[in-house]
């Protein structure tokens, strides 16, 4: 019994170690949205702006402003780093990311059309800047 338990414990520990190792590798690609951001996005309170940043779609509240500012500060840091790496300006890189982020919106989510209006994503292609790839 003791030996069986020992083997079982070992295999459980090994599995746990493997899961931790895999999780450690996979975590950047599978990083989840903050629950508050995810629910605001799903509720259509925030949406993807043309310029690559998140915008508030409904009447502004301090909570929404906090979520949007937090995301946009992080996005700007990433844009800044990638723009430097690709010899582009932050604005150029952010606009390109905006093209892609709008394209990646799920049905029901909000995005900004080229005329500045907020649109709800349908299964059809989103209305994007004519320069978007």
């Amino acid at each position: 019994m003791g030996e069986v338990m020992n083997k079982l414990t070992k295999s459980v520990l090994a599995a746990a170690a493997l899961a931790t190792a895999l999780g450690g590798i996979a975590s950047p690609a599978f990083a989840q949205r903050d629950p508050a951001y995810a629910s605001a996005r799903a509720a259509g309170q925030v949406g993807e702006r043309m310029d690559g940043y998140l915008g508030i779609v409904v009447a502004e509240t301090p909570a929404l402003r906090r979520i949007v500012n937090d995301i946009n500060i992080k996005r700007r840091a990433v844009y800044s780093e990638r723009a430097k790496a690709t010899n582009a300006t932050i604005e150029e890189y952010a606009l390109t990311a905006g093209c892609q982020a709008i394209l990646a919106t799920a049905v029901g989510e909000k995005y900004q059309a080229p005329d500045g209006s907020w649109q709800t994503r349908t299964s059809a292609a989103p209305l994007r800047d004519p320069r978007c790839p």
Partner: protein, 64 residues
């Protein structure tokens, strides 16, 4: 006005005016071409960055 030198000068001045006028009309249509070029350059930049930006969004799924 019968002075041939003066007539020559007047003719030269008129020619210069015509030539100058010609230059201005040539320059005018160049303007929209320059604007179009700027739009093309921007689109080229966006196309060049598209793949990298797509990867960036995937790698930072928590903030997109």
């Amino acid at each position: 006005m019968n002075d041939p030198k003066l007539t020559g000068r007047v003719a030269a001045a008129m020619l210069a005016t015509v030539a100058l006028g010609g230059c201005i009309t040539v320059n005018a249509p160049e303007e929209p071409i320059v604007i179009e070029l700027n739009v093309n350059i921007r689109q080229e930049v966006i196309y060049r960055l598209a793949e990298d930006a797509g990867n960036t969004i995937e790698d930072n799924a928590d903030i997109f």
